[in-house]
């Protein structure tokens, strides 16, 4: 029996359990429970006790029965030793312990006796902890954004950590922020503008990029290598160095405060990466297919329309989604070019809301949900295409 690996298992697993319980407790605080003490040391001792019992019982009993009884026992003990808490909180604790003891299934004294086991155990709990950590760190702001939009100004001022949604109110009261931003702040118009600008950018970019990418991929001409390297270099130049000259020129031409101006700028800033991504895919299409088209008497226009585009739909989808995402999320140019609320995009509109310090934060968060939700839904639905677009284009961002 290896003493070292036993100690490591005990420590790693009980610390893990304690941290998870603490996180659950903090999340419960946000639902309006008034805890003021995490009881870290007490819970650590409890967890240690649980792990010791679990390991020493080992595989002597039926596994499911064992974890069920142990979880129930320790949940009762936990609830007894900690502050008063409602039923749903204890159920959460019970489920956490159940999940945890199930993870401990293979850990009995025999298993701990193997060679090089301690490193493996630490790694395993570190991975588990990392999953919890990443999920929490990423989803927490999105969660806060979402729940804050359902609160009222007074409720937030009275208790800023109580973010529970009051379901006893009627549905209009709960969704009040959304009604307000659409009615008073005219968000319906901004959604339309943003959609129009994003889709417009995608279409124009494709219109310009497909022929150019075809030329770079297939045809021989003077300056080809120069062009393909300069595409990437141009792509590296950031928007902030373009802003002042574009601002002055657009002011003098009267293109500021117009959606068309934005379309031109968005298109040209996404063109290099679109050409770069598309030409890579076009090169992978067998040349023989095009030659067959040439023999059939097609000119380059026919070849692009009838052969290249149908064959490279996946790449075109990636590029479109990537460009759509860039245009939808773009902020700098919309800040510079749009002063008139009639031409605002969603991002600019939210920035405009914060310009007034009196704007209640639930409206701001409702606006944020409105701008975030579509792009996240599109991402989840078309993940495969967008990820390949991101990987190819992720030199930028």
């Amino acid at each position: 029996m290896k003493f070292k690996s036993l100690i490591i298992t005990l420590l790693a697993s009980s610390i893990f359990l304690t941290i998870i319980i603490c996180i659950w407790k903090i999340l419960a605080t946000l639902q309006g429970l008034s805890f003021t003490n995490l009881n870290f040391n007490l819970n650590l001792l409890l967890s240690l006790g649980l792990v010791i019992t679990c390991v020493f019982i080992g595989k002597k009993f039926n596994h499911n029965l064992k974890i069920f009884i142990l979880s129930l026992l320790f949940t009762i003990l936990y609830t007894f030793l900690n502050e008063n808490s409602p039923m749903w909180f204890s159920v959460g604790i019970f489920l956490l312990i159940l999940f945890f003891t199930n993870k401990l299934k293979k850990y009995d004294l025999k298993y701990l006796n193997q060679d090089f086991i301690s490193e493996k155990i630490v790694f395993e709990f570190l991975s588990l902890f990392a999953i919890v950590f990443f999920a929490l760190v990423i989803l927490f702001p999105f969660y806060i954004m979402f729940v804050t939009s359902f609160k009222t100004q007074t409720a937030l001022l009275i208790n800023p950590i109580d973010l529970s949604i009051d379901f006893s109110k009627n549905i209009f009261e709960i969704f009040k922020s959304y009604f307000v931003i659409f009615k008073t702040y005219d968000f319906g118009r901004y959604i339309l503008t943003s959609t129009y600008v994003s889709i417009g950018t995608v279409l124009i970019t494709l219109l310009f990029a497909i022929p150019a990418a075809y030329a770079v991929a297939r045809l021989n001409f003077f300056g080809k290598t120069f062009l393909s390297t300069s595409i990437l270099i141009i792509y590296m130049f950031p928007a902030i160095v373009l802003v002042i000259p574009l601002y002055t020129v657009f002011s003098q031409l009267g293109l500021r405060n117009s959606v068309e101006g934005l379309l031109i700028v968005y298109t040209s800033t996404t063109l290099p990466v679109a050409i770069y991504m598309l030409q890579g895919y076009f090169k992978s299409i067998p040349k023989e297919i095009e030659e067959a088209g040439l023999i059939d008497g097609q000119n380059w226009f026919g070849i692009i329309i009838k052969i290249i585009i149908p064959l490279s739909l996946p790449a075109i989808a990636s590029v479109s989604l990537y460009v759509f995402m860039i245009a939808w999320n773009e902020f700098l140019f919309s800040l510079m070019f749009l002063d008139n609320p009639k031409t605002f995009t969603l991002s600019r509109a939210i920035n405009h809301l914060t310009g007034d310090a009196e704007t209640p934060r639930q409206y701001l968060m409702a606006g944020s949900v409105v701008v975030t939700l579509p792009i996240l839904l599109i991402f989840i639905y078309f993940e495969k295409y967008l990820v390949s677009g991101l990987t190819a284009g992720s030199v930028k961002g």
Binding site: L30, P141, T148, N220, I244, P245, M365
Partner: protein, 419 residues
């Protein structure tokens, strides 16, 4: 025969490329060169609008006579700041209609009234009147007169097109504006932001490369911070970190971790006492760097994961046989396999973080010690409204950027093509 074919091919290629190249040239390359021009000029935001002479035409009937009319031109200088020189005016009158008692500044030739108004100072206004009469004493249709529009021209200085240059902007950038601190902040932000994002990316990629329940779900949500709009995410974090009623501060106070809320985004320094040494931490800058890491590690993650999945499995199997643990496997197998992609990633992300504007702008606006070069472009150009200064800072950015790119291509340009 083949030469004509290749000629056709060339011509086709240029036709296909022309629209894209023109657009990119107009919107990306031209501004970069225009920056150089503007940076040597003293231009303010208000100077950008070109002053124009304008006229509004009003036709009025005169009582007791329909063969005579009065035309009033409301003349003005559109600019309240700049003068217009040598203003010329011309308007056409219909046939058989002549002016009566024409103003001295004007002359009438071939049915056209031509005037020379001389110089108009800023904000100049005048109601200029012409009486007209039908030669045959017939009734005048006022619509005929309204149908022609007056034509005005004048010489105004478009300050952007003049050729007087100055080094004042660059002098200001390098000497008066704490340039060293600006540069240090930018590098601090860029370096730690990039490093942190890559380290977190390695962890995340290593994690998702294992098999566990909910792995695909994990992979999708890991990309959320990058996919979400920067405006929404930045404001959410601002509210989270708010010292008055932000969730994180309230939680920390509630659990007794801190006594008073900390203004994470508005406090320049945090003084930490470690063993009697006082450490000054750039608090707001650190917070901004953490946001930056949070938002951009998904990109590093994506790259590294793709590389991890391409590592041959038998390497790990061999290590298993030798009894290597997971940490040793990581340091002796995984890490050497991903160093190439890490170095490329570091360079590219470094360049992009160097240019990052939105994140800092939305979180702090460049206050409390978070002023970086890109924010400075905005501040000089639009907050102080000194366009010339803003351009000068842009030029500094472009020059630094070009030197980074040269280093990048010298060091790993060849490697990048191999991967």
């Amino acid at each position: 025969m083949s030469s004509t074919l290749s000629k056709i091919e060339k011509r086709t290629a240029y036709t296909l490329l022309l629209p894209a190249v023109c657009l990119v040239f107009a919107i990306i390359l031209f501004p970069i060169f225009a920056n150089v021009w503007i940076s040597f000029k003293e231009v303010e935001l208000k100077d950008i609008r070109i002053p124009e002479p304008r006229a509004k035409k009003i036709v009025k009937n005169i009582q007791d006579s329909n063969s005579e009319l009065k035309i009033i031109y409301k003349l003005r200088n559109s600019s309240l700041i700049q003068d217009i020189g040598e203003v010329r005016f011309s308007d056409k009158l219909p046939k058989n209609i002549d002016p009566v008692n024409l103003d001295q500044r004007c002359e009438f030739k071939s049915q056209k009234v031509k005037c020379f108004f001389g110089d108009w100072e800023a904000g100049y206004r005048e109601n200029f009147e012409i009486f007209v009469k039908d030669v045959n004493n017939d009734a005048i249709n006022s619509k005929d007169i309204k149908s022609s529009k007056p034509d005005l021209s004048g010489k105004s200085n478009n300050i952007l097109l003049t050729t007087d240059f100055t080094f004042k902007n660059f002098k200001n950038v390098f000497i008066n504006n704490n340039f060293v601190e600006l540069l240090m902040t930018t590098f601090y932000f860029t370096f730690f932001g990039t490093l942190g994002a890559i380290l977190l990316g390695i962890f995340a990629a290593q994690l998702v490369n294992q098999k566990f329940y909910g792995r695909t779900f994990m992979r999708s949500i890991l990309l959320f911070p990058y996919v979400g709009p920067v405006v929404a995410l930045a404001y959410t974090w601002t509210l989270l970190l708010d010292p008055n009623s932000g969730t994180i501060n309230s939680l920390l106070v509630n659990y007794g971790v801190i006594e008073k809320p900390i203004n994470l985004l508005g406090q320049k320094y945090l003084i930490i006492n470690i063993l009697g040494f006082e450490l000054k931490l750039r608090l707001a800058l650190t917070t901004v760097i953490f946001f930056e890491i949070w938002r951009y590690f998904p990109l590093a993650f994506l790259f590294i994961l793709a590389r991890l999945q391409a590592i041959p499995k038998d390497l790990y199997e061999a290590a298993d046989v030798d009894g290597a643990g997971p940490f040793r496997k990581f340091f002796y197998i995984t890490l050497p396999q991903i160093t190439a992609i890490l170095s490329i990633l570091f360079m590219i992300r470094f360049i992009w973080n160097f240019n990052k504007f939105e994140d800092i702008f939305l979180l702090t606006g460049g206050a409390s010690g978070t002023l970086t070069l890109p924010i400075s472009v905005y501040q000089q150009g639009f907050a102080v409204s000194n366009i010339g200064m803003g351009s000068a800072v842009s030029i500094v950015i472009v020059l630094l950027l070009i030197s980074f790119m040269i280093i990048y291509f010298k060091l790993i340009g060849k490697k990048a093509n191999e991967i």
